[in-house]
């Protein structure tokens, strides 16, 4: 694995994530959100899981980010986050970060380099998905259908109240 690529992607992803969490303009935050997910997909590529990276870009940049910008358009009154940030939340987040970092740095077993692996082909993923994971796959299909119908019902206008 290339360490230069790692550093570049890490800086890009974390900066984009931080921007998407803190920018005032919602639209910019949504675009930064898309960039964050491209960065995470790049991490997946670096880790040898190309398929997951591509799915990530496809789902998040192609679908979720577009949904978010559409929602911003439909709730146009609040394109700027005017509410005051909750500083207590920020302190909690920093505390959690400190705790996690302490735990990670204290664990010596994590100082391992990546072992050699055979490339994870799409064929293998498909095979596993259709054999060992066929029930979860069906459940996810059901869940997505339910989400689709639920979202439609939620946003449908109440005609009789008018």
């Amino acid at each position: 694995m290339n360490s230069a690529a790692f550093v570049v992607i890490a800086i890009l992803t974390l900066a984009a994530a931080f921007a998407s969490a803190t920018l005032q303009k919602l639209m910019h935050a949504a675009l930064m959100f898309a960039l964050t997910f491209v960065g995470i997909a790049a991490f997946f590529f670096l880790l040898g899981a190309e398929f997951v990276g591509l799915v990530q870009v496809f789902v998040y940049v192609g679908a979720v980010a577009v949904l978010i910008v559409f929602t911003i358009l439909l709730t146009r009154r609040d394109v700027q986050d005017t509410g005051k940030p909750n500083w207590g939340g920020a302190i909690i987040a920093i505390a959690v970060f400190g705790g996690l970092l302490w735990a990670i740095l204290k664990t010596p077993a994590l100082f391992i380099a990546a072992p050699q692996i055979e490339a994870l082909t799409v064929k293998r993923i498909g095979g596993v998905l259709m054999t060992d994971y066929v029930w979860p796959l069906q459940c996810v299909g059901l869940l997505l259908t339910a989400a689709l119908i639920g979202a439609l019902i939620l946003v449908m206008e109440d005609r009789d109240e008018g």
Partner: protein, 104 residues
């Protein structure tokens, strides 16, 4: 120097905390959704990293969990954004502090 598992965990912990920051400190409902998505993505990164650095050969369990979690996160985003729109229709705001009535 090649990146070790530790570096990936630090990255994903940072991402998780940025997501937590967005969820806990912002007032706008869409920012909260963005934060949740960031936290889920950090978890995915962990799964993939542990799969990659685990003893080989092994079944691609981490990859599978990441794929399912992406699908579930997409469903969650769809329903969440639909709720934001529905709530906005009712209260004419997306500031979560103002959704303080139980009776609609």
């Amino acid at each position: 120097m090649t990146p070790t598992l530790q570096l990936f965990l630090v990255i994903s912990a940072t991402l998780f905390c940025i997501g937590l920051l967005a969820v806990l400190s912002r007032r706008h409902a869409i920012f909260i959704l963005i934060g949740i998505e960031l936290m889920l993505a950090a978890a995915n990164l962990n799964f993939i990293a542990f799969w990659r650095f685990g003893p080989q050969p092994q079944p691609p369990t981490g990859v599978m969990i990441a794929i399912f979690s992406i699908a579930i996160a997409a469903a969650e985003a769809v329903v969440g954004l639909a709720m934001v729109i529905a709530v906005y229709r009712h209260y004419r705001t997306t500031n979560v502090d103002q959704f303080d009535q139980l009776k609609g």
